[in-house]
C-alpha cells in the first residue's frame, strides 16, 4: 500500500542542523501535537463529518512531511482523499494504519534523538 520509508533520515539530519539545541524540543512538540491530531481524527470519524476529517488529515499530513515521516504523511493523504470524496466506510481502516505507523515513527524519532 505504501512504499515510502518510515523516516526521511536526510530531512531529519537537516532539521537537526537547523534547530540545533532546539531539536529535541521540536520532536517532543511534534509527538504531542500528533497525539492531539489523531484524537481529532477519531472525533471527526465518530461524528461522520467527512469535511472535518479531510481538513484534519490534511493538516496532520503537512506536519508529518515537515518532520520527515513520509509514510505516515502518505496515510494521512489517503484519509484526506476519503474525507473529500465522502467515502467514510474505508476510513477506519486507514485511521488504524495511521495509529500503527505513528507508534513506529514515535519510537524511531526518540531513538534518533538520543
Amino acid at each position: 500500500m505504501n512504499e515510502k520509508p518510515h523516516l526521511d533520515e536526510e530531512a531529519l539530519a537537516e532539521l537537526q542542523d537547523v534547530m540545533e539545541d532546539e531539536f529535541s524540543v521540536l520532536i517532543q512538540t511534534y509527538l504531542a501535537d500528533s497525539r492531539t491530531r489523531i484524537h481529532g481524527l477519531h472525533d471527526a470519524l465518530a461524528a461522520a463529518d467527512s469535511d472535518q476529517l479531510a481538513k484534519a488529515a490534511h493538516s496532520f499530513k503537512g506536519s508529518c512531511f515537515n518532520i520527515g515521516a513520509p509514510r505516515l504523511g502518505a496515510f494521512c493523504f489517503e484519509l484526506e482523499k476519503l474525507g473529500k470524496n465522502e467515502q467514510l466506510e474505508k476510513a477506519p481502516e486507514v485511521l488504524e494504519a495511521i495509529e500503527e505507523e505513528f507508534q513506529d515513527v514515535a519510537r524511531r524519532l526518540e531513538n534518533f534523538n538520543e
Binding site: 530531512a11 537537516e14 532539521l15 537547523v18 534547530m19 532546539e22 524540543v25 521540536l26 512538540t29 511534534y30 504531542a32 501535537d33 481538513k55 490534511h58 493538516s59 499530513k61 503537512g62 506536519s63 512531511f65 515537515n66 518532520i67 520527515g68
Partner: protein, 572 residues
Amino acid sequence: MNILIAEDNDSDRMILATLIRRLGHHVQEASDGLEAVSSFVKFQPDLVLLDALMPRMDGMEAARRIKALGGVRFIPLIFLTSLSNATEQARCLDAGGDDFLVKPYNRVILEAKINAFNRMRSLHQAVSEQRDHIRRQNERMLEEQRAARRVFDNVAHTGCLNAPNIRYHASPLSVFNGDVLFASRRPGGGTLLFMGDFTGHGLPAAIGAMPIAEVFYGMAAKGFGAADILREINRKLCSILPTGMFCCGVLLEADSKQSAIRVWNGGLPDGWLVRKNGDRVAIPSRHLPLGVLPPDRFVASMDILDALSGDRVVVMTDGFPESRDDQGAPFGETGVRRVLAGLQPEEHPFDALMEHLQRFTGQPAPADDITLCSLEVVTGSVAPEIFEKTPASSLSGPGNWHCVYEIRERTLADFNPLPLLLHICMEVPGLRRKSGEIYTLLSELYNNALEHGVLALSSEWKSSAKGFSLYYQERKRRLSETEGHYIRFTLDHESRPDAGRLRIRCEDSGQGFDAESQGARAPAGTGPGNGYAGRGLEILKRMTQELNIYGAGNCVEIVYDWEFPNHGLQSS
C-alpha cells in the same frame, strides 16, 4: 526584516520560525487567523507567512483582512500550504496571496523567496517615495504658478476695461491660457483695444504678456497711433519669443471724434462690427500673427470701417468658437454668425453671444478658455481725462525753452511727430497733468496742417459716414506725392511763478485757407457735420488763451497758459 508567521501546527511553526531566525530576521508567531490579524496590526511586519487552513479564521480570510489593513504599502504575503492542486493554489493568490510555499519547508527556497520579496518591497517603497516627492514638487509648482498668475493678472486684464462702453469676459484666476486684453484711452480722445492669444499654455504663454503690456500702455499714453504700437509689439515679440511661439491678436482703434474704427486682425477668429441698424461687417484675419515676421516684413496697415455712435465691435479668441457641447461639437464661427444674425433690436451682441454659448455648452459658468470683448463706438467731444498708466515723474524739468521741429516730404508720410512733440512738452512738470489737452492741441494743429494744408483735402468729404473711407483713401494717395512740402512746429515755453506759458506755432507749405469764411460757415456751438476744420478751430479756441492765424492761413499759433492747482485757478 520583521516577519509574521501564522501557522496552527506547533511543530511546523517551530521549524519555520527557527529557519527564518537563522536567516537573520525577527519573527513574530501566531497560531490562528485571528491572532494573525491582531499581530499584524501590533507588529507591523514587512512580510507575512500564512497557513491556508487554520481554525477560528482561515488563511484566506486573514489574508484579505491583512491586505486591506496594509493599505497603500506593499506587504508581501506568502501562503504556507500542502495544497497540491492548481485550483486551490490559484484561490490562494486570488485571496491576496503573492506566492506560496509548499510543505515540507525547503530552506533554500524559503530563503530565496524571502529575499525576492524583500527586493520587491524595497522597489515598491522607492517608487512610492518618488511618487510622493513628485507630488510635492508638483504642488509647489502649482503654487508658484498661482502666484505668477496673480502678477500676470495685474498686467493682462487692465487699463480702461471698466469703461462704460467696454464689455468683456476674460478667463478667471485659475487658468493661464495665454490670452490678454488691454484697453487704453488715447490722449485727445478715443480708445485703443488689444486682444491677444499667445501660443501654448501656462507660464511660457503668459511670459510674453508683460513686455507687451508695457509697450501698449506706454505708447498709448504717449499718443502713438495703432500702427506704431503694432510694429513695436511685433518687434518686441520677435526679439523675445523663440521661433515657433507667437501671438495672434486684434488691435482696434476707435477715435471719438471721427466716425471710423481702424482694425488689424492677425490670426484671431473673425471679429464683427455690429451696426446699430443691424448691419454686420466681418473683421477677418488678414495678417500673420505677431512675432512671426521680422520688422522689415511686418505689415501694420489697418482697415478702416465707418462706424457711428452706438455701433459695436466684438472680438474674441479661438476659445469662444471652439467651445463644445456635450456631444463634442464646437460652437464654431457659424454659431457666432447665427447669433449675430438673430439679434433683437435692443439686444447687446456681447450678452447675446455669452448667453447662447452658455446654453450651447450646457455649463452654468463660462469655460476657462473664453475671451470675448465688445467696444461700443462713442462719438462726441473730447473724452475726459482718464489715464491709467501715465507714470508720475518727480524730476524737475526745463522751464524756459524754445524748439523748432520740421518734417519734410517723404517723412510727412512715414512719421507721426506728435508723440515726440508731446514728449518734449511733458518734460515740463506742470504740463504733465495736461497731456490729454496738449496732445489734442498738437494733434488738431498737425492734422489741419497735414490734411488741409499740405494734402489740400476738403473737410466736406467727411460730412457723410461713407465719405470717411473715401477721404482716407485719397489721403493715402496724396501722401505719396509730397515733394517740396513741409510742416514746421515751433514750440516755446516760458516759466512763471508756479505757472507757465506754452506757445505752439504750426506752419505748413500748403495754400492756406480762408479762416474767415471757414469760421462763418461753422458758427460756434453747432454740432458735427459742419466741416472738420471748422470744428477743429472751435476746439482750439476753447482750449487756449489765444489763437492767431497768420500768412495765407497756413500758419496757426496758439498760446496755452497753465498754473499749478494749489493756486486755485485752472488754466485756459
